[in-house]
Amino acid sequence: MTATQVEDGAALEVRVPLPRKRIRHEHRRRRWLLVIVAAIVASVVTAVSGAGDVMRVDGFGSFLEFFQAALHPRADAGFLGLTATSAITTLAYAVLGTLVSLVIGLVGGVLTSQTWWLARPQGRRAGRVGWFVTRAVLVVPRAIHEVIWGLVLLAVFGLDPMVAVLAIGIPFGAVTAKVFSELIDEAPHGPYTALLAAGSGRLPALVYGIFPGALSDLLSYAFYRFECAIRSAAILGLVGAGGLGFQLALSFQTLQYNEIWTLLYALVVLSIAADQWSSFVRTRRTTRVLGGSAVVAAVLAAFSWWWVGFDPSVLWQGNTWTLAGRVLADAVPPTFGGQSPLDLLGLAGITVSMSVIAITVAFFGGALLAFPSARLPWLGLRRRSGGLLWTIRSGLCKLILVLLRAIPPPVWALLFLFVFYPGVLPGALALGVYTAGVLGRLMAEAAENLDGRPLRALRAHGTAEPLVFCYAVLPAVTPKFVAYGLYRWEVAIRETVVVGVVGAGGLGLLLNQQLASFDYAASLTTVAALILLTLVVDLGSAALRRALR
């Protein structure tokens, strides 16, 4: 290359300005980044500037004591037996809840898919209306957290396994329906339209034309949902549904740290087992693995049914409907229950700031743990065998991530109450630490699935590892990390309700108080506010995603 050519190139670069659209996008991006920083600062200020002190120094002793107890959990035969039966109960609720959610998800998924409504050229407008209505109907159960469902259902069914099963099944079913409808709409449609053209009805055309192709995706998502259901079942136990969560709550009341650790270990084992099963099914989708897993799941479901004494007849027997009617009549018309609309707005602000702190902690914590735990062969140092040091480091980081997400957020919140006064901060940190465990794993998976070719090309130039990391790895994973982070932010808003249990403020705390005093009319208002907030956050996160793309 000659010097003039180089000069020409440089001159060319100066002469060609960026397209105006690109510049505008760049400006918008900068504005949004400013908004994010401002939101984080404002949230931290809100959380810290509460009434009086934030930290309690005297609590550090108990905090340390708690973690020291990790080394000697209570392991006598009696307590181990109790832990085992509690673990099975939690597992059984998770299995049955997932089962209900799958039924709802399958029916709802078909009924909310464009494939179903817009199948024929005739009557498209009516189809669009039907599609929109079914979609809108499913938004509400999705926006209400399992714990809220649990508390409401408790008023209807009393202490019955049905409470936990439906509390998991209804919101999970609505989420599953959304994902299933997307999977159905994204599946190849050639066979389906071909069958419709031959005069087939919609249902047979769907079963013959779409399901065989989408089945492995549907099943793998079902197993992912099961993994989430284990955590939900534990949390529901904390509010009284029995199982590991219930025992955890009891041991917390008496501050038996060694018992708590035994129960937590059981929960970790259960989580890891579900986690491994789910990722095994999702990475190896052969007919044998899927079929075998389905059979095991069916056996597990039958066993769970028997174990918790599940009885669907409570749905139509006794005074279930009368009670449901009474709760509904109490709730309508909704009232503000002593709050002014402005109070609600203030509480909504606290909820948002709690979720912002949580997701900030989770994002950076997750990313810091994700890189050392991920297997990144293209960074060169680690060949397939890997060094011993690396194996230890990676294993340790993975273990930390599992621990973070296996311990339910309310338990984290109770722990943080040792060192913080009740308020926004312990709730936000609890949610953040738990979400870090979830995000860290997603991030590690994203890093492991990176396209290795550009990285190898850089390595081939003799670029040092840290530079490869900065020039190729970080730019490639950042958009994915941001996308996951925003997605988890939407989830975190819903989960602020859960840490409300321990007096972390916001709408969640208010709702818990209102439900505890059976004030359903005021609860309905708070639930509506939460749903509205969820919608606003969803829209905001979608706008952010577009701007940062």
Binding site: Q122, L195, A197, A198, G199, S200, P212
Partner: protein, 265 residues
């Protein structure tokens, strides 16, 4: 002709299909405009034209998967515009369509794919049961024998070669006992020899069963050599519609010529 009533389709219908000033707008694009076409029973028609001329939309109009935005489409005595869904489906059951990409369900075995052609005539419970314990195996087998791949009845459709898959698709049409067979570029995904075989098979079957056949083709030679009527389609309108003997080389050249000659600087 039965203009509006949609009784059970019969073979002696005159004509089998009729388009009157039919047009179709797909999205913001006008795919077809002012199409007049009458197809008599037993006719074998080839439709040719450049990419984007509206050939697939024409097939869509004829099998009822594309709604006419103007004019009328009447097939097997059923006027698609405004007819109730059940009546349209009754007609569709006797219209067999062969697609360019075969459109088989690759994860299902061949027998299910062939049976898929009869789903319109089966009650839902039977269709679902058949996935577990296949029904109508004998008929499926006979249809597969007819297209020359009877031995593959239990194989997974996705494991077959392209030519075999297109034969499964034709068997799927055969079990419909169709009065009208539509083929949308049935050989575009196959090599020339395999393509020739498939076209010959379609013509043979239509001769044997007296079925009406309409095929869209890219291969002009094949269209002129084997069909008694050739329709030229260009930019959504019919340019010519006559027997191959009445077509000149110039007609074909004009059909495929660029819309506006690009001036060279």
């Amino acid at each position: 002709m039965l203009p509006d009533s949609c009784a059970d389709p019969v073979a002696e219908l005159q004509p089998i299909a009729e388009l009157r000033a039919a047009g179709a707008v797909r999205g913001s694009v006008t795919a077809l405009a002012g199409i007049d076409l009458r197809i008599a029973p037993g006719e074998r028609v080839a439709v040719i034209g450049p990419s984007g001329a509206g050939k697939s939309s024409l097939v869509g109009l004829l099998n009822g998967t594309v709604a006419a935005t103007s004019g009328s489409v009447t097939v097997l005595g059923c006027r698609f515009t405004g007819a109730p869904g059940a009546a349209i489906r009754r007609a569709q059951r006797r219209i067999g369509t062969v697609h360019q990409r075969f459109d088989l369900v690759e994860q299902l075995s061949v027998v299910h794919n062939v049976n898929a052609g009869r789903l319109g005539g089966w009650p839902v419970w039977k269709a679902l049961l058949s996935l577990v314990a296949p029904r109508g195996v004998a008929e499926a087998r006979a249809a597969l024998d007819r297209v020359g791949i009877g031995a593959k009845v239990r194989q997974r459709a996705g494991d077959l070669s392209g030519g075999e898959q297109q034969r499964v698709a034709i068997a799927r049409v055969l079990v419909q006992r169709p009065l009208l067979v539509l083929a949308d570029e049935p050989v575009a995904s196959l090599d020339p020899a395999r393509g020739r075989e498939v076209i010959d098979l379609l013509l043979e079957l239509s001769g044997e069963l007296g079925t009406t056949l309409l095929t869209c083709l890219h291969d002009v030679g094949m269209a002129l050599g084997s069909f008694e009527r050739v329709v030229g389609l260009r930019a959504g309108t019919v340019v010519f519609d006559r027997p191959p003997s009445a077509l000149s080389d110039g007609d074909i050249r004009d059909l495929y010529a660029f819309a506006a000659p690009v001036p060279h600087p």
